[in-house]
């Protein structure tokens, strides 16, 4: 497990310069357009993209087949990928928190809206990857890439449509009218998001495990 994780981190480090340049470009773009939200969303998205990159590189090199000839079980191979997914998106989210904190410290924003955005985006991407992972393990990364885009688009439509139908602004106003402190509201949201993520990742892992156990490498 540790070896697999180290291998993924080295793989990502190998492409660090490319990812750094893209991130820098997005940071400049965000600064020019004065949109912290954009950078927030992009940074978490980048975390997720890293795991897709490692999956793609492994697939092209037939690394998984090779790893299974070592003292590594199919279950371990899979768990490591889910850990990497949570780790990369988690690090992306934490990094985004630092950006938001920095922006708040410089009085560029109050940070509350961005903090909610980080929670929602982290949940959104973890959910979308949880849906896509079993497809990746079934059909391979190249086919799954298109399915991932489709899943993300459908989810975005559902979230936007749902938010509009539920009139989230009114929910937010109701929360404020009820005198619930912002911190408590964010904590509640954090709890809800964590439960959604945990259930999604667990169900996704169970489905992927069944696929991986039957897969020929």
């Amino acid at each position: 497990m540790k070896g697999l994780l180290i291998k993924d981190l080295y793989t990502i480090a190998g492409y660090g310069k490319q990812y750094g340049i893209v991130f820098l470009f997005m940071a400049v773009w965000s600064a020019v357009t004065k949109s912290i939200s954009f950078l927030t969303m992009y940074t978490i998205l980048l975390g997720g993209m890293l795991i897709l990159s490692t999956l793609s590189i492994d697939e092209n090199a037939h690394f998984n087949r090779y790893a299974l000839t070592m003292p590594v079980s199919r279950r371990t191979l899979l768990i490591e990928k889910y850990i990497a997914l949570v780790l990369f998106i988690g690090v992306g989210s934490l990094f985004t928190c630092l950006i938001v904190g920095g922006a708040a410290a410089m009085h560029l924003s109050d940070g509350k809206e961005e903090l909610v955005m980080i929670l929602v985006m982290t949940t959104f991407f973890l959910l979308s990857y949880s849906i896509t992972f079993p497809i990746i393990f079934k059909y391979g990364i190249e086919k799954a890439r298109y399915i991932y885009i489709l899943v993300t688009m459908v989810m975005a439509l559902v979230v936007i449509g749902g938010a509009s139908a539920l009139k989230l602004e009114m929910v937010s106003e109701s929360v404020m009218r009820a005198g619930i402190p912002a911190f408590a509201a964010v904590l509640t949201l954090l709890g809800i998001c964590t439960v959604i993520d945990a259930v999604a990742v667990f169900l996704s892992y169970r489905i992927s495990l069944k696929i991986v156990k039957k897969r020929e490498w």
Binding site: K7, Y10, T69, M70, P71, S73, K213, E216, W217
Partner: protein, 300 residues
């Protein structure tokens, strides 16, 4: 662990659409080098996948170093004792060799850093080089170094020498010879480059169209098989039960026989001499001839 056979395969069957690995059974004796030959698509890689536990939904029983291969179980410690090299290097191309050393240290409990460093020096593989910067030969040497730098007792090599030039292939065969000199070490080597197998193997397993045709001691095989060049009339006097393949052309017949002693003891040469016929030629054959003519005989 002291087991008589490093690998035991019993009644291995795997069905795909258009191909069937059909009831394959064989043993790889501990301490031997076994060459696994057959044309492309004969079922070599499928068999190796099954041995490595990479093939679910197959029938039959497989034991490797005394461990029963069961895809449902997660017990993987037995793999500490096997080293596997495929026909390509499977490390991500951006990884440097020093990174691979660190990854492998965390993969194998029995990883031997000093041994790996020694192999790197022997193979002239620089630690700072990335996998993508290595030549095909260097990549294969890297994979062999990894396969040998833990507690390997069994090397499983699937077309590991294909695509390499003869000099590198020879160097690699020397390493394999060194490995098998240690008592109890075994090599199972699949290749369609029969000259490599002829140089190193003790036993030959021949698979064709998903069926095992034979497993024989290499020296016996080369000694017993022969290619007879004679006239059509002389070929007709060769007992049917020893003929593997017969080809008639306008001036001679070429017959691959599986037991030249039967031919010699049966007075084949003497009969030709007595009748004043052209003297038949009984040639020694290589593994490649045996494979080629056996495959041809199936196409008749």
């Amino acid at each position: 662990m002291n087991v008589e056979n490093a690998i035991e395969v019993k009644n291995l069957t795997k069905v795909y659409s258009g191909f069937r690995l059909d009831d394959v059974s064989f043993q790889v004796p501990t301490g031997s080098v076994v060459g696994f030959i057959g044309e492309n698509g004969a079922g070599k890689s499928t068999t190796i996948k099954a041995i490595l536990g990479l093939l679910p939904d197959r029938e039959g029983e497989i034991q490797v170093l005394g461990h029963r291969i069961d895809n449902e179980k997660d017990d993987e410690n037995w793999k500490e004792q096997i080293g596997v090299v495929f026909d390509e290097c499977n490390f991500p191309p951006e990884l440097k060799i020093k990174m691979i050393a660190n990854v492998m240290k965390n993969m194998y409990q029995t990883w031997d850093e000093q041994k790996f460093a020694d192999y790197l020096m022997k193979f002239e593989l620089p630690l700072e080089k990335k996998v993508k910067e290595l030549s095909k030969g260097m990549k294969m040497k890297l994979c062999i170094a990894v396969a040998l730098s833990h507690d390997s007792r069994l090397l499983i090599l699937d077309e590991a020498t294909s695509g390499l030039d003869p000099v590198v292939r020879n160097e690699i065969l020397d390493i394999f010879r060194e490995f098998v000199e240690n008592a109890g070490n075994t090599i199972f080597l699949s290749s369609h480059i029969t000259s490599d197998i002829e140089k190193i193997a003790d036993y030959i397993i021949f698979i064709h169209k998903g069926k095992l045709l034979f497993m024989e001691n290499k020296d016996d095989l080369i000694y017993n098989y022969a290619l007879v060049k004679c006239t059509g009339d002389q070929a007709a006097r060769i007992p049917d039960n020893i003929i593997v393949y017969r080809e008639d052309n306008s001036y001679e017949a070429i017959v691959l026989v599986r037991d030249k002693e039967i031919l010699q003891k049966g007075g084949f040469m003497e009969t030709a001499a007595k009748r004043g016929e052209i003297t038949p030629v009984i040639d020694r054959v290589g593994i490649e001839d045996i494979m080629l003519y056996t495959v041809k005989s199936d196409r008749l």
